[in-house]
């Protein structure tokens, strides 16, 4: 404050100073202890600091989306290398080691660094808007999740630096190469002596922490932060699926966390969880992994189904057919998903009874999934279907997912699966559900919500072109793989002989993947162009049905000028058809809110970032540093300790910071006319 005195315009300054002193005095009394400098709330909203300290769910959603898309491209690039190697028999483009690394990283990247965070991006961005909330329940926890996710992604990929380290005489560093489900005992020190598996273990561990933290947040948000009148049975289906997905994450990730801890202990502390010499049973890993792994695949598809359940009604201009049943089937898919894990282990010799039980349980899942398909068709039935790009992708999803689902049912017949397991038939199955399913839906979602997120619209023509190229490329790539699998081609093979009848199909698949790649490039090129130069649009571009469309695009930081009151299932659609009453209601609420001191906004915070950064340091200590030679172990432990301390400091300061925020005041059109940082809460 004394600085102000040096200012030339003395008179002006003195009055301001007095005002400031007054208000400072006031706040002093209200919640007195002055924060130490590092505990003052950051207020920057722009630039690097703005991003690092943000707690705004939309910005965090954007961060998730940004990283996810980058990793999608990376994972796709890895896939293209895989396909190129397999284009012709006995190809020598890649060595066995490189190839194994590529498919491991491709699978892990796509699942954990592309599809999951992309879903999380939509949960973050859209879910609070759909439930009429101004933020998630724990904004800083949300920031912690995204940064821990980034830390995990770094750890997972850091092994790519191996060849560079090699130049400096540092050996044993490599990107993970044990397959995305890393079966023990191949992951033991014995069979994978380098650091690659450590990167995989710790990377997944951090991603698990991030996912669980984020999901806890989503669960609380959906259950507790709904706008008045928004009962559970009025929730948009996407939000329902976000809820189920979060539950699946919270309940399934612990199993892989423990399994990974056990691998880590086997590798570093001489335990014998999966060490045969000490009596361990490697099969246990498979159970622990798939108890997580199967729910995981539903974690990948449920958000996609949620997106589809938003798009189809919007473009049919009709509510979702059989809403309660769709919701209920989502729940049963999630629940049944915990009872079928051993269908990935039909060939492990479980015995007849166990095999039969899991085969039947697996078949049961086709019923609730079928219900969804039927209800989507029911939604189209009698509608006014407008074929816009998002709708194209959504319909593409229904078709492709169905095919993938049917090959899933073929797997569930255990005796047939004995032939299909670990062959390209499985590869075909899961790419149909993962690309034809998850990715198509996510691409549809991006197209659908782009006008809302950025206030610009994607060119219909180029959108449709990208759809068709992707659609054709995708089918050309993966349809032949069914034949390859049935014709006996095993997966995870870097080379094959020309005499087995696989040449043609592989060649077609590779060509298809190039077309697919071109399609993806077109898709993203169009998005980037639209982001920069696209035509601006007003709010509610698609004539939407749910609350996110009731606000400006791009959404203001406070989301809703007035927290909406919900009267029916498709709240915004309802509002559009009952404009007057609702406008009146909203004005009343706006007044009430202003009387209470304006809109409460949470302050940003750097501490979640610091905490996540600490976990990164610790993880680097655990994974990258050698235990030998002699002083190694101390350095390793030291770095871990430093990381843990940094993480602890982050969390401690975050808790000291308190959860106060500031208030903003709006005029009638939603422009910010004032902010006050004085008051608590």
């Amino acid at each position: 404050m004394p600085v102000l005195l040096k200012s030339p315009d003395i008179l002006n300054q003195i009055t301001r100073l007095m005002e400031l002193a007054k208000s400072a005095h006031l706040t002093q009394e209200e919640h007195a202890p002055s924060q130490p400098k590092f505990l003052t709330h950051p207020t920057t909203k722009t630039g690097l600091m703005g991003w690092l300290t943000t707690v705004d769910h939309k910005k965090i959603g954007f961060l998730y989306g940004f990283f996810a898309l980058i990793f999608f491209i990376i994972g796709g690039f890895e896939a293209l290398l895989i396909r190129t190697q397999l284009m012709v028999p006995n190809n020598d483009l890649l060595t066995a080691q490189q190839y194994n690394t590529l498919f491991t990283m491709h699978g892990t990247t796509m699942i954990f660094l592309a599809v999951m965070p992309l879903s999380a991006a939509f949960f973050n961005f859209m879910m609070p808007l759909q439930i009429g909330a101004r933020d998630v329940a724990f904004p800083r926890l949300n920031a912690f999740s995204v940064w821990t996710f980034v830390a995990g992604a770094i750890i997972l990929n850091i092994g790519w630096l191996g060849p560079i380290l090699e130049r400096f005489g540092i050996h044993g560093h490599n990107a993970p190469d044990g397959g995305w489900y890393g079966y023990a005992p191949l992951t033991s020190k014995n069979f994978s002596p380098g650091h690659s598996i450590d990167y995989w273990v710790m990377g997944l561990q951090l991603l698990g922490v991030a996912s669980i933290a984020a999901s806890l947040n989503f669960i609380v948000t959906i259950i507790n932060m709904r706008a008045p009148g928004l009962t559970m049975m009025r929730l948009p289906v996407f939000t329902w699926m976000a809820l189920f997905t979060s539950f699946l994450i919270v309940l399934s990730f612990p199993f892989i966390t423990i399994a990974l801890v056990e691998v880590m202990m086997d590798r570093n502390f001489g335990t014998s969880f999966f060490e045969v010499s000490g009596g361990g049973m490697p099969i246990l890993w498979q159970h622990l992994f798939w108890v997580f792994g199967h729910p995981e695949v539903y974690i990948l598809i449920l958000p996609a189904m949620g997106i589809i359940s938003e798009i189809l009604p919007t473009f049919s201009r009709k509510p979702l057919f059989g809403y309660p049943i769709v919701v209920f089937s989502g729940a049963s898919i999630g629940f049944l998903g915990f009872a079928v894990w051993s269908h990935h282990m039909f060939t492990t010799g479980m015995g007849t009874v166990a095999t039969a039980a899991f085969a039947l349980a697996t078949m049961c899942i086709a019923v609730p999934t079928g219900v969804k398909i039927f209800n989507w068709i029911g939604t189209l039935w009698g509608g006014h279907i407008t074929m816009r790009t998002p709708m194209m992708f959504a319909l593409g999803f229904v078709w492709m997912f169905m095919i993938g689902g049917f090959s899933g049912v073929m797997h569930s017949a255990a005796p047939a699966d004995a032939q299909q397991n670990d062959s390209y038939f499985v590869i075909a199955h899961f790419h149909y559900v993962l690309i034809g399913g998850s990715i198509f839906a996510l691409l549809a979602g991006i197209q659908f919500w782009f006008p809302l997120m950025f206030g610009r619209k994607v060119s219909e023509f180029w959108g449709k072109v990208s759809f068709w190229v992707i659609f054709v490329g995708f089918n050309t790539t993966f349809f032949p793989m069914h034949f390859l699998g049935l014709n006996g081609m095993p997966r995870r093979t870097f080379t094959y002989d020309p005499n087995l009848g696989w040449n043609t199909a592989n060649f077609i698949a590779t060509m298809g993947s190039y077309v697919l790649g071109v399609g993806i490039v077109i898709y993203f090129a169009v998005l980037v162009y639209t982001y920069l130069k696209g035509e601006k649009v007003k709010k509610d571009y698609w004539d939407g049905r749910t609350l996110e469309w009731s606000i400006e695009s791009p959404p203001p930081e406070y989301n809703f000028r007035v927290i909406p009151t919900v009267h029916a299932r498709d709240a915004w659609w309802h509002e559009k058809h009952h404009r007057e009453e609702i406008a009146k209601e909203n004005e009343a609420h706006a007044k009430a809110e202003e009387a209470h001191g304006g809109i409460h906004m949470p302050y940003g915070s750097i501490w979640p970032f610091v905490a996540a950064f600490g976990t990164l340091i610790a993880a680097i200590g655990i994974t990258a540093l050698p235990a030998n030679p002699a002083p190694g172990i101390h350095l390793k432990l030291g770095v871990c300790l430093v990381g843990a301390t940094v993480a602890f400091i982050g969390i401690y300061f975050w808790s000291l910071e308190g959860n106060e925020g500031y208030h903003i005041h709006l005029d009638k059109d939603g422009n910010i006319i004032g902010e006050d940082h004085g008051s608590k809460h």
């Binding site: 259950i223 539950f247 919270v250 309940l251 199993f255 009596g279 049973m281 099969i283 246990l284 159970h287 108890v291 915990f338 009872a339 051993s342 010799g349 479980m350 015995g351 009874v353 166990a354």
Partner: protein, 111 residues
């Protein structure tokens, strides 16, 4: 498990002060059950009987802690449901795993 506390509003913590008694009683009960459990183990009864008794007794302890110490009894039913989703899934998975590993096909190689 519905919330009787709603009726009792404001500073009238009538039922709250009696909680002290409840808590102490339950703690004693838990200690006693633990004692019984320890004794049980040494009783010369059939194995299945002792195991069943132990499982039941621990479950009773478990339930007392979550419903009283953790207030589920006084909280919204939803909290109970929420926790039981995890609890049931966890016990179910554990049961399934133990059963799977007891199947003949899953026995480890004889050494």
């Amino acid at each position: 498990m519905s919330a009787p506390s709603h009726a009792v509003s404001g500073h009238d913590h009538g039922h709250e002060s009696s909680k002290f008694q409840i808590y102490v009683q339950i703690a004693m009960l838990l200690a006693v059950i633990t004692g019984i459990e320890i004794v049980c183990v040494y009783l010369p009864f059939a194995k299945w009987l002792v195991v069943t008794t132990l499982v039941i007794l621990s479950t009773v302890k478990f339930m007392f802690v979550i419903f009283y110490f953790m207030h589920l009894r006084w909280d919204k039913l939803f909290c109970t449901i929420l926790f039981f989703i995890g609890l049931i899934l966890a016990s179910g998975t554990m049961w399934a795993l133990l059963t799977l590993f007891s199947a003949e096909a899953s026995l480890p190689l004889p050494t």
